[in-house]
Structures are given as C-alpha cells and as structure tokens.
C-alpha cells in the first residue's frame, strides 16, 4: 500500500510545482516609433500642396514611446523634397513644422520650447518617460503660383530615435 501512496504523493507534489508557471518580463530603456497617421496633402490651389486640415489635408502624427527618461532624443524632419512626383521643371518652395500635439505626462509640456531646430530637423530630448505625439505640417508651393502638373505626389517625414 505504501509503495502505491508514495509515488502518488510525489506525483501530486510534482504537478503542483509545474502549475506555478512564471511569466518573466524585463523593463528596459527602449524607444518605439509609432506611425499613427500617415498624412495627406490637400490641393487648395493649383500651385500648392499642404497638410493643413483647413485646406483638405491631413497632418501626419507620430508617437514616440520611451520607457525611461533621458535615454533618447527624437529627431523629426519635415519633407523638403518629393520622394515621387511627376516631372517638375520649376522650383518648389517647402515649408514645414513639427510640434507636440499630445503627451502622456504634463512634464513634457516644455518639449517644444526646448527643442533644437536646424535645417528641416526638429530635435527633442526625451527627458520624461511616456508617450509623446508629434504633429507635422508640410506645404509645397510650386514656382511663382504655377500649377503643379497632374499626378501623384509623395513626400517622406523622417522620424528618428537616437540614444543619448
């Protein structure tokens, strides 16, 4: 009888140990770039393409999630060229901007004030952990109020996350 009970008890104990399955997770510094809205150019005038919502455009929105403060900087570049477009024989004047549109922590409120701008790049030090949404505006004016040729125009917003 004892020969039967001991293995059964051992078996129950063993299955109890197996039931304690662990889920392991590490919280490490990391940066995730999320493309939330790709953006669309509106064409309010024949010579103009713009992401302004009042002109039929949609502003691209990029979210950065950083898990630890002071580990990363975000660099966002608004377009200064088309990545694909019909043949253009005149100059395109580009304008654009990047600004924080939403934030998960109110301490991010001074990100726009503290950002560094050069060329078409906007550099933000991610000094607070959490999520930050950046809204990009872009406009392209062709020639001296010259009509853009018919076709499809695409421009690229560059979003980078660089460790400090």
């Amino acid at each position: 009888m004892l020969k039967l009970v001991i293995p059964m008890a051992a078996s129950i104990l063993a299955s109890g140990a197996i039931a304690q399955t662990e889920i392991v997770g590490n919280v490490d510094s990391k940066c995730i770039i999320i493309s939330e809205t790709p953006g669309v150019y509106g064409n309010p005038n024949p010579y103009q393409l713009t992401t302004a919502p009042t002109d039929g455009g949609i502003q691209p929105i990029i979210r950065y999630d950083v898990l630890a403060a002071d580990y990363y900087k975000a660099v966002i570049e608004h377009p200064i060229d088309f990545s694909s477009a019909p043949t253009l024989d005149d100059v395109v004047a580009w304008t654009g901007d990047v600004e924080v549109s939403e934030m998960s922590d109110t301490n991010m409120a001074d990100y726009d004030t503290n950002k560094v701008e050069y060329d078409n790049a906007h550099e933000y030090e991610m000094t607070v952990a959490g999520s930050t949404w950046f809204k990009i505006s872009s406009a392209a004016d062709y020639g001296f109020t010259k009509s853009f040729p018919a076709g499809t125009y695409t421009a690229i917003v560059e979003a980078e996350c660089i460790p400090l």
């Binding site: 490490d28 510094s29 990391k30 940066c31 995730i32 770039i33 999320i34 493309s35 939330e36 790709p38 953006g39 669309v40 150019y41 064409n43 393409l49 992401t51 949609i58 691209p60 990029i62 979210r63 999630d65 898990l67 580990y71 990363y72 377009p79 990545s83 694909s84 998960s104 952990a129 959490g130 999520s131 990009i136 872009s138 499809t152 125009y153 695409t154 421009a155 690229i156 917003v157 560059e158 979003a159 980078e160 996350c161 660089i162 460790p163 400090l164």
Partner: protein
C-alpha cells in the same frame, strides 16, 4: 506606471518600430580581430516590410560591418535577431534600422522611421 504599460500594450497593435537593447556591447567573436554584437528588431508597422541596417561612427559616417542581410524583410509583428560583426579597431557608435518605403499611389506624406542603438 500602470498607465504607461497599458499605453505600450495598446501601441503594439499600431504601427511601431523598435530596436533593442539601447546600449549593446561588443564582444569577441569566434574570429580573431573581429567583434560581434546582437540587436533585436520588432516590426509592428503594417505598411513596412523591409528594413535596412546602418552602422555609423559618432559623426554619422558609415563604417564597415558585416551582417547576414543589410536589407531584410520582416513581416508585420515579426522579430529578428541581428548579428553584426565589426573589426576590432572599429569606430562604430550607432547601429540603426531604417524602414524602407515602397512607392505609394496616394497623394500623401509617408513616415520613415529610424531607431538606433548606441554601442557601449
């Protein structure tokens, strides 16, 4: 903190690009005078299937490196371990993955993402 974790879980279903660890370390490889390191890429961008690996010095100049595929395909929600081999006298500082965008048909601005790790 709970809010942040929830937010990051939700973000997983969106269009995200991640590269870890933030600070990879160089180790000796099985070849003499060659160092190696590993990074892991996660692609949650539904609009991007191809990524390119870039290795640069502190001034963002390209430096020589060897890896299995410098441009690789990674399906949506796929993860990839990337091994990078560098000469022992390398000046490499940043390892980055950049999204490769296909020409689209929409009249829109497309978002290119680049996430970097910094070699310790």
């Amino acid at each position: 903190m709970r809010f942040l974790v929830l937010l990051l879980l939700v973000s997983g279903s969106l269009e995200a690009h991640e590269l870890t660890p933030t600070y990879p370390e160089l180790r000796s490889s099985y070849l003499s005078d060659v160092l190696e390191t590993k990074v892991r890429m996660w692609n949650a961008r539904v609009d991007v299937e191809y990524y390119k690996i870039e290795v640069t010095d502190k001034d963002w100049n390209d430096v020589p490196f060897i890896t299995r595929e410098k441009t690789f395909r990674l399906e949506h929600l796929g993860k990839k371990d990337i091994e990078i081999f560098l000469p022992s006298d390398t000046t490499a500082t940043y390892i980055c993955t950049r999204s490769m965008l296909q020409k689209g048909n929409a009249q829109r601005s497309i978002i290119s993402s680049k996430v970097c790790s910094k070699i310790k």
